[in-house]
Amino acid sequence: MEESEIINGLTNAVVNGKKDQAVELANQALAAGIEPYKAVIEGLAKGMEIMGEKYDCKQAFMPHLLMASNAMYGGMDVLTPHMKLEGGAKRAVLVIGSAEGDVHDIGKNLVKTMMSAMGFEAIDLGKDVPIGKFTEAAIENKADVISVSTLMTSTMDNMEKIVKSFTEKGIRDKVKIIVGGAPITPDYAAEIGADTSKPDAMEAAKWAKEIVKDLPDNRWS
């Protein structure tokens, strides 16, 4: 199979939510000597991007998105260990989790998926994450973007505490913070000192990809 055929195949496997196909093509990509980074970004991630757009215009819904996400991770699990970074550059790091008290993680998982598709290395803290974990993980992984979700109004205060914890540790200016979830608005994000809130995972990922360009490279050293 030609390189373009494999790459397109990876995109289609994600769009159609075919995990087995994504895994098989990812292995073929490696065998054919295709740059794994290229297979991820131009193949798998592109498929996820297409699904994000379809979701936006209501041609695809949560089930399709999850099937696609599943397929993308299937392919990425094969390709990521072989990925060499372009020119020694470090991938942008995302630290993501649901606020303490909130056990919901579907929204968080979608944001993680879309940001992974945009090339982020995702450190997933899971759901119901203790407040201090975010700064801890940010320092340890030299994070670029912090994403906190909550579906519940009762845990919105914990979001504010998380943002504050970055200021208290003196690392607020080293990261960009995005907050999201059903009850969260951009006004609320501004009120608690976060950088933004976006209406969906696709918008969040697009924002993150752009905003990391504003962060100085050597700020963690």
């Binding site: 819904f61 999850l66 099937m67 109004t153 059903a182 009850p183």
Partner: protein, 381 residues
């Protein structure tokens, strides 16, 4: 009041309400008769229980009922009533006490239980993250992986677990207020219950495994019907189905029509058989799916703040539209003035029943809720 007298009064009110437009029509230009008819109209009053039952089924009423179809518990009410979360979720007496505070402290013209949406999944064996004074308990693990789990859970006993506690609280409330106030009960709807049981895989299961998805939906629906009947037996007269995960915005019209509509229809039919009106609440922008939501036969649809009321009204055939004050920006963070302003906008847009767009946030000040109550009561017909 005995049954016959009560019936006679209801008949009289009905007649008066129906005749008013007729009188007004025939008497156009005759101010005396017009005034007379208006006086009759203002004389017609209902108990809150009658008023809500009529309003939900599209019958004329004197004014808008002031109720909340979504959870009512707040910290201020807990302090006033001496009944706090999390105890109020597990103990029937405490639960009833806090529900009562919705009426005695805030002024809602109904009492409503429970305050959370996790008792249903807990009943089937999902783990629960305990709630706090300010936060509801929530489902933290899932209990159905495959068909064998569905089979295992089929012989459930509705008299066990927290769902039985909720029924007991309903009984306490009905004994005390049942003649006067609506006794409102809510339960998690079948699609969201299935998702709680199966986890996020559920979204994929409806696409890839029809047999399993149908079986789990059937189990959840059967549970919902048995539970709703039990709540009605204990005195609940208004049923609210909260089915947030079923949002067509999340799963699309195709799957909503396939899995959600038939399930909701079965619950609605079972409730209508015993004269209990049904409200469906689904969060998010449900505008495009309102017709589909109505097709299950629900009496009323509760919408959140992202739905435009006038548009929603134009989409439904006869279902009442309930909503849609933003529980965060308006009811929690706003002032009584902003609440009144937003309430008036919803009323002017034609909302049938003014209410919060989703569960009331526990830290919401009572004065804000009271401003909503006042706005609803001021809407006279």
């Amino acid at each position: 009041m005995d049954g016959i007298a009560a019936g006679a009064v209801t008949f009289l009110r009905d007649t008066l309400n129906k005749s008013i437009p007729l009188i007004a029509c025939f008497a156009a230009g005759n101010t005396n008769i017009m005034q007379l008819s208006q006086e009759f109209s203002s004389m017609v009053t209902y108990t809150p229980k009658e008023r809500l039952a009529r309003a939900l089924t599209g019958k004329p009423v004197d004014r808008m009922p002031a109720v909340s179809f979504t959870q009512t518990g707040t910290v201020e009410q807990m302090e006033a009533a001496g009944a706090f979360w999390p105890e109020a979720n597990d103990n029937a007496e405490t639960m009833a006490k806090l529900a009562e505070a919705g009426h005695t402290v805030v002024g809602f013209e109904a009492v409503r239980v429970p305050f959370d949406i996790s008792a249903e999944a807990e009943f089937f064996g999902c783990d629960i993250k305990a709630g706090t004074k300010e936060q509801q308990p929530s489902v933290s693990s899932h209990c159905v992986k495959d068909m064998s789990d569905v089979q295992r859970l089929k012989n459930f006993d509705i008299t066990q677990g927290r769902v039985a506690t909720i029924c007991k609280a309903i009984k306490i409330l009905a004994d005390k207020y049942g003649k006067e106030l609506p006794i409102m009960a809510s339960m998690l709807g079948p699609f969201s219950l299935a998702q709680h049981m199966n986890g996020d895989d559920w979204f994929m299961a409806i696409m890839t495994d029809e047999e399993f998805a149908t079986a789990l939906m059937d189990l959840a629906t059967e549970f919902n019907i048995a539970y709703a009947k039990k709540m009605a037996e204990n005195g609940a007269d208004t049923m609210v189905i909260i089915d947030p995960t079923a949002s067509a915005m999340l799963i699309g019209d195709e799957y909503y029509e396939k899995y959600v509509v038939p399930a909701h229809r079965k619950i609605v039919d079972a409730m209508h058989e015993i004269n209990v009106p049904v409200v469906i609440h689904i969060c998010g922008d449900t505008t495009m799916s309102l017709e589909l939501m109505e097709s299950s036969g629900v009496d009323a649809i509760s919408v959140d703040q992202s739905v435009d009321i006038a548009t929603a009204k134009s989409k439904v055939n006869k279902a009442m539209i309930i909503g849609n004050l933003d529980p965060v920006a308006v009811l929690w963070k706003g002032t009584p003035d902003t609440v009144r302003e937003v309430s008036q906008k919803a009323i002017d847009a034609g909302v049938d029943l003014l209410a919060p767009g989703c569960g009331i946030v526990s830290k919401t000040p009572s004065v804000n809720l009271q401003a909503m109550v006042e706005s609803a009561k001021n809407r006279k017909y």
